[in-house]
Amino acid sequence: MPRIDAALKVTGMAQYTGDAPLPGMLYGKILPSPYAHATITSIDASKAMALPGVGAVVTYQDVPKSSTGAYIPYSTSSGINKYWLENTAYFVGDEVAAVAAETRHIAEDALELINVQYSQLPAVFDTTSAMASGAPLVHSGTTSNVYSTLKASVGNATNAMSSAAVTVQGTLTVPEQLTSPQETRRTLAYWDSEGKLNVFDSNQDVTGWRSTLARAFGLEMSKVRVDAKFVGGGFGCPHPFRSPGIAAMLAKKANAPVFLEYTKEQNAVCSTRSRAPGTYNITMGFNSDGTIAALQWTQTFDHGSYPGSPGWGRQFGCYNFPNADCVGYQVVTNNPHRGIFRGVADPQGHYAIEQIFDMAAEKLGIDPVQIRKVNVVEAGANPNYSKTLYGVMTGFGKPVWSCDIDDCLDQGAAAIGWTQKRHTPGALTLADGRKHGIGMAVGSHTGGTGNSSALVRVESDGTASVFTATSDSGPGDRTVWSMIAAEVLGLQMKDINPVTGDTDYSPWGCAQNGSHATLVGGSAVQLAAQQCATQLLQLAAPMLNATPAQLGLKGGNVYVLANPSSYKSIASVVATAPTAVIQGTGSWNYTKTAPPVGQGGMAWYFGAQFAEVAVDTQTGDVEILTMVSANDTGVAINPMTTESQINGANIQMQGGYALYNEPVYSAEGKLLTPTDLDHKVNTIADFINVQPIIVNDVEPYGPYGAKGIGEGANSATAGAIANAVYNAIGVRIFSIPITPSKVLSALGKLAGGV
């Protein structure tokens, strides 16, 4: 099923934030900090305000200092509370002030007239420096740049390691990766004559931002509207840190609508939650049959200037670890903030552990596919789930309800010709002189840890509207929710009108994240539609001389199950309702530990990826030849958009994360790679066609057996490619991206020495 809004998008008719300017609207611009760490000793905006056409300037002095209000999301949980604007800049490009003016040019000119005096502070740019004793503190009032140390243990890792058949050790590093959505950060805000705050934003969490804005400005929730009907690419970026707040402050001060835009560079450093870079120190012990004996794991993530995700990755729940000691250092530095880019910590964690698995498989003489098989978790009731490593790490008490990773491994291996093509590392040279390699990796993710509500209204003409506030940031949720409602009500897709992304007109919806808009949002829609269906059957029963249980919904009609030629149109049934309309509501509630009673599961995605590469040992170039991505997605409600997710994940991860993407900063902390060109964001020409395989496992707590795919599909890609590169050249490269320089260096061929 093609996306229902595909035509709107490709013809330019879909209205994104700022596509419809408001009368009297001003343009907002951000003043970035030139320093990585500096206190603002004075800030004087009088000259900027005097410039004709300037409507407002806001600084840290204008932030509403309510006790629960204008904070950067997630900062409070770390104990480091940061307001939308601060009197300290924590990284180069940090928002210092904002201007609203009649034109973009005036706004930019006004920025230069804001006189800011800074007192520079020492800065740290990497976790080693940040964790060193005596290191300058990123945040005053703290005692360490390690804002949180995570620890989790099960069994006795030390003993188990010493008696393991083999042990494997690796130190691996993963880079930052910028989200790079097509639509950069933008917010249009205005306060109407009744004191209501209206915010149009490129946003994945409209309900969350509605609460934040209400708290910050001391407003009733009903006095805040956040609307994000169309979002130009998600990936975590449209979880803005500050811009809706800053735009609202500007609009309030200027008493005019303000359209705040971030430049591409500002989007990269200020408002995206890039993938956190990190280092892993891993030692794993294995038994001779390939099962894991013990894990010793230390991860260190550079979270940038403000605390946030990620913590533990799902690789810890994807496999069985009988004995493990894990430590995670969450470190702040004077880099831009990092956080919840698609998959959060899973592409990093799986990349790391999948290398270790391959090394162990080689040592033990076991097939890499087989070593995964003997270690992956199994589906089913597990009363002791909270005592497993992932249960200890997260507090999740629920077991893995559905897992079909074995099918993913088998189907993926068959599709790529694993057994036929596998060879000794470095053994196969292609006709063009390049080295051939084949590799695989497993990935995982979870979804479903959210709450959502929906309302479905069946109209008197037999069509239906679906209301839920969750915004569709691109995965095709509007289509999927409509399909669910159509399925329940026996309607055609053309008869469904989804109303989404708007807190004023729709019930509370989950954030569009965590791969749960289908599972959580879709379940709420399903429940709401089922309420309508029940009412329809009740109303139709006397009309068709039957009981509701004897009736069904199909083709726009209510019909007698035993006699389909006896039916009434849904329109004619709705007409008999007191208000000639039928409405149903549904709420899906997630609970962390209680056993599911009809609701509230956490669904695990699993997948296996296989890659073939060709490595040019003279240039160091790595070309991906073929890829297979086999995914346990649950029942794919819309296989077309499910495949889109698989393809999209691979576009970001294969050439991107595995081979090219690497933000570079100057010694002063200035991002040198702010554009897609500099950051080497993959183009469609770089995309190696992935053969997508959907393993239609059934998730018992998902709507029609569905679970999430959006994030998990990217978790195995880099690991599979890295293992394939090893298979090609026989030398393992312990960091991504796998650049020509690293390949040549690994081969000992780098000109002028390594």
Binding site: G655, V664, K670, L677, N682, P740, L750, A751
Partner: protein
Amino acid sequence: MKKFYHLNPSTVAEAVSLLDKYSGSAALIAGGTDLLGELKDQNLPTQPTALVNIKNISSLKYITADSSGLKIGALTRISDIAASSTVTQSYGVLSQAATQVAAHTLRGMGTIGGNLCQHVRCWYYRSSGNFFNCIRKGGSTCFATAGDNRYHSIFGGPSGCVAVIPSDIAIALTALGATVTAVGSSGSRVIPMASLYTSLGTSLKADEVLTEVEVPAPTAGTTGVFMKYRLRATLDFPVVSVAAVATISGGVVSSCKIILGAVSQTPYEATGAEKALVGNAVTTSTASAAAAAAVTGAVPMTNNKYKINITQALVNRAILAVAGLPYPS
């Protein structure tokens, strides 16, 4: 972006007169694909007061060829060069370079004149808000030398700047022995490609407009190849490029030009490689020896040693390709 005057001359003379009037504070705009990015990012210390828009000078859009050679007006779009059968048939190196510039949409905007005059891509030079006032901008420091220089020069920088020429077209034209015509207030002059670039920019004066590119007709037996190594499959500048043009008579290379791109501030003539080939037949061993000679004297920096490997491999493959030999042999 700062405000500027947007001036629309309809002749080259008018354009020159406007450039003269603004004496260095005006910038020419044609396709704008390079300039507009710089205006938005404000990476330069000063912003132009005026943009002299030369797109309306229709007399500068042409591709003509006769027995003496090829002439291309400066406003000819890259896509028109890439699509020209004349260029493809007789000046294949240029055609190959043109098709590898940026991506289709940008080739449809960018002109050959603009491509030759584009500024370097050094990420310190390009950093927004003139964050790094480097040597190329009149400062005293090259930030790349001590910083991240993975895409920078492997042959040093006589003025202290280690940025590299990003143009693909310039490399091909240099190998073809092309010249450009520049018209200024003191008249018109012809500049060989080999003299167009300096270690800090071009040799064009502030009041000069590049109007035409002229490529001499190749002698019989001449073939050429352009190769570009880039990370992305499209829409990417070269990590290294090479244009190799050789005349082979009687199985022996009688003359050749091997020009390297993105390895120095200017198109880099690999004279060592040329010497290794002239007078010899192209074989796997002479190609290999020439490739090794091409990178002799390279002075890599911290992050760009790999560019030497890529340069050597590309030169080797280009030479084999020019001679119609397979790779790998």
